[in-house]
Amino acid sequence: MSSETKQILTTDGIPLEVSLKKAEKKNKIKAFLLVAPLLLFLVITYIFPIGDMFMRSVDDRMVTNMLPKTFKAMENWENLDELPPEEVYRGFYEDYKLLAENQQHGKLGQRLNKEKNGFNTITKKLFRQIKRNKIDESVSIKEQINKIHKRWRNVEYWQAIKRTAPPYTAAKYLKGMDMYFAADGSIAQVNEDRRIHRILWLRTLEIAFFVTLFCFIMGYPIAHLLATLPMKYSNLLMICVLLPFWTSLLVRTASWMILLQQQGIVNDFFVMIGLVTDDNRPEMMYNKVGTYVAMTQILLPFMVLPLYSVMKTISPSLMRAGKSLGGTPFVAFLKVYFPLTIPGIGAGCLLVFILAIGYYITPALVGGASGTLISNQIAFHMKTTLDWSFASAMGLMLLSGVLIIYWIYNKLVGVDNIKLG
């Protein structure tokens, strides 16, 4: 019945829908043009770098491009527990010779050395043989190479070369979780004493969680005060909350260092009131305590502001209604006020947690060995080991971790319930 309703025409006889679309089109284009610069900016500064990071983290084409003939020949290498056939040796020799002519052989040696220790030595030996033209191409290359060093006669080294064949690899991600591809291609755990990353991940989660908790416990009453105090006091309090925002992050962290060090003000105070003895001052810096204290203080405004903006919208008459209807102040708070602040709690906690999970400068300065986070490890690989692909892989793992948390949060609380202001 209703589907048979006649198409509505405008006075000119054009269907209404068509006419509406036409009228809206201009607005749509205008709206798009307005956001276009921002969109472009986002693509350039956000989407591209992340894409590039991803490519870097899985890219393993260097060896693939350096040893084309070797890998082609390896397709016919059937029994992997035995040394490869002559054609693989010949392919490798030809590839390596070409690299040596182009001065690229050093890179290959380093890359293979990462895959299996000892490669650097034996590739250098091979290089010297080639340079002196000691290799006779008319006879078996396999025998000549095997003679150069005993490691060339070890099948594990050839297996290692074969493992580098695929142009893309997830090895960096496995490394980030203290795992690696074993010789037979299966995934194995690194030795227990070398599992550092997993500890860092867990510690990062733990610190982010507790910092969020502390921020919530401290921020909730502050936000409540801010929202309920008369204007002249709440403005002052607001400035106190925002002041850290206007101060350099480094300055704030440095001031915590002054406060928390063993001869610092806090320790002096503890000694003065007799809480600790002078020769037994607790270490509050270069460990987790320092990280907790400094990060909580620095991230507190991110908790207070969303909470404040939500609390500001809650009419004081609601609490009064709760009380006049017979609820004790506590019941009125728990049943009326608190549920109404949940959107703010959600926003504040999510904000603080996500910021905390990727925090870098503060843990680097006051964290010491037991208070550093995964971001410090990423920075270490960016600056010191120059293993950018590993740093990228860990960065992406961090990003996906945050996305997963966001997803879980959305399932539990619902992102629609977040209110930032």
């Binding site: 609601l318 209604a321 709760g322 009380k323 017979g326």
Partner: protein
């Protein structure tokens, strides 16, 4: 059960917020059990403060408030058992209508069956059965208002306070809600203290009205008396429309006084003037002055029409009379209507009993 005439008692209550200005001054007010009393006054007159003191959200600076003979100044709001309807309803937005109504019962640890019964009864009182599962945001303003009323009544409080509950509603809805609240009050006999600045609302609903100004009760009486017999010029001015003449008493006896205006004299009913020579403001309701009166009236004057405004059921005529161009007449829209034209001269008359000589403005 004998009705207690002093069910709620404000005993010499003062209230100051800043220690400099008294918002409520020496308030003495008795509210009888089952009464519908309205506190009426302009904003800032202290009426809402009185309500908040009664509810327990403000404490009196001096004096006591008694509920059924007990001093309640030190009892926190949640133990007073006073229902309250707030200006913006203050419904809990995260609870359904049912949960809103059940809240005061749940905190009193009433059993589930009993709660269901009471909620059902309260909702039927405001004819909102079937709305239990709605959220407040899904209701219209009038419906929210009714839920708020039902919530304030559901736990059978002895007193219900209403703080301008109809302020946010449009005119028609406000009028129908006025009757509805009045009927609810009549059917359950609860004591209602109602605060408003809308005089017609106060006149329609209340048993008694306390007119507040400047922290004081100016007059406390029933609606008819308040309108007919205002005791001072503030009340006369605030309630209904009013024509005023400022002058000086030149002659006075028991029922009449002669008041000298700028360039004429009128007869008036002495209310708050006692002696010759006192300054006074004479107040006269517009509907008490008649055009071309057939009866003999002791005040008869001629005025010139300045403006005629058609109001449907009546016509308002602004006259230049006795040196004032602000004299208003209300002419009912009857079939024998006169031809009223601007700048026409007409005869006006009123009885001196209706012209009340009050305190000077």
């Amino acid at each position: 059960m004998g009705k207690n005439p002093e069910f709620v008692k404000f005993d010499k209550v003062d209230k100051s917020y800043d220690g400099k200005v008294l918002v409520v001054k020496d308030l003495q007010l008795d509210i009888a059990e089952g009464e519908f009393i309205t506190m009426l006054g302009p904003s800032g007159s202290g009426k809402t403060t009185c309500l908040m003191m009664l509810a327990g959200f403000e404490t009196p600076t001096h004096g006591e408030i008694l509920l059924d003979g007990n001093i309640i100044s030190n009892i926190p709001p949640h133990k007073r058992g006073i229902g309250m309807v707030f200006q913006n309803y203050a419904l809990f937005p995260h609870m359904t209508v049912y949960e809103n109504l059940a809240f005061p019962l749940r905190v009193r640890k009433i059993e589930k069956d009993e709660i269901d019964k009471k909620v059902d009864k309260a909702l039927s009182m405001v004819s909102l059965n079937g709305f239990e599962t709605r959220m407040p945001a899904q209701l219209s303003g009038g419906q929210q208002q009714r839920v708020a009323v039902a919530r304030a009544l559901v736990f059978d409080p002895a007193v219900v306070l209403m703080d301008e509950p109809l302020g946010a509603l449009d005119k028609n809805l406000r009028e129908s809600m006025q009757y509805e609240i009045k009927h609810i009050h009549e059917s359950i006999g609860v004591t209602v203290v109602y605060v408003t600045h809308d005089q017609s609302e106060a006149l329609t609903m209340s048993n008694r009205i306390a007119v507040f100004n400047d922290g004081k009760v100016q007059q406390l009486s029933n609606p008819a008396e308040l309108y007919e017999k205002p005791v001072n010029s503030f009340v006369a001015e605030f309630i209904g429309e009013n024509n005023t003449f400022n002058g000086e008493v030149i002659d006075i006896d028991k029922n009449k006084c002669r008041v000298k205006l700028a360039n004429s004299e009128i007869l008036a009913n002495p209310i708050s003037v006692k002696n010759k020579g006192e300054k006074t403001t004479v107040s006269l309701r517009p509907e008490r002055a008649l055009i071309n009166p057939t009866d003999k009236m002791d005040n008869m004057f001629t005025g010139k029409i300045e403006e005629v405004i058609y109001h449907g059921d009546h016509t308002r005529v602004r006259l230049n009379l006795l040196g004032s161009s602000e004299f208003i007449l209300k002419v009912p829209n009857s079939t024998s209507n006169l031809e009223l034209k601007v700048s026409q001269d007409i005869n006006i008359g009123w009885n001196s009993a209706d012209a009340r000589a009050l305190d000077p403005k």
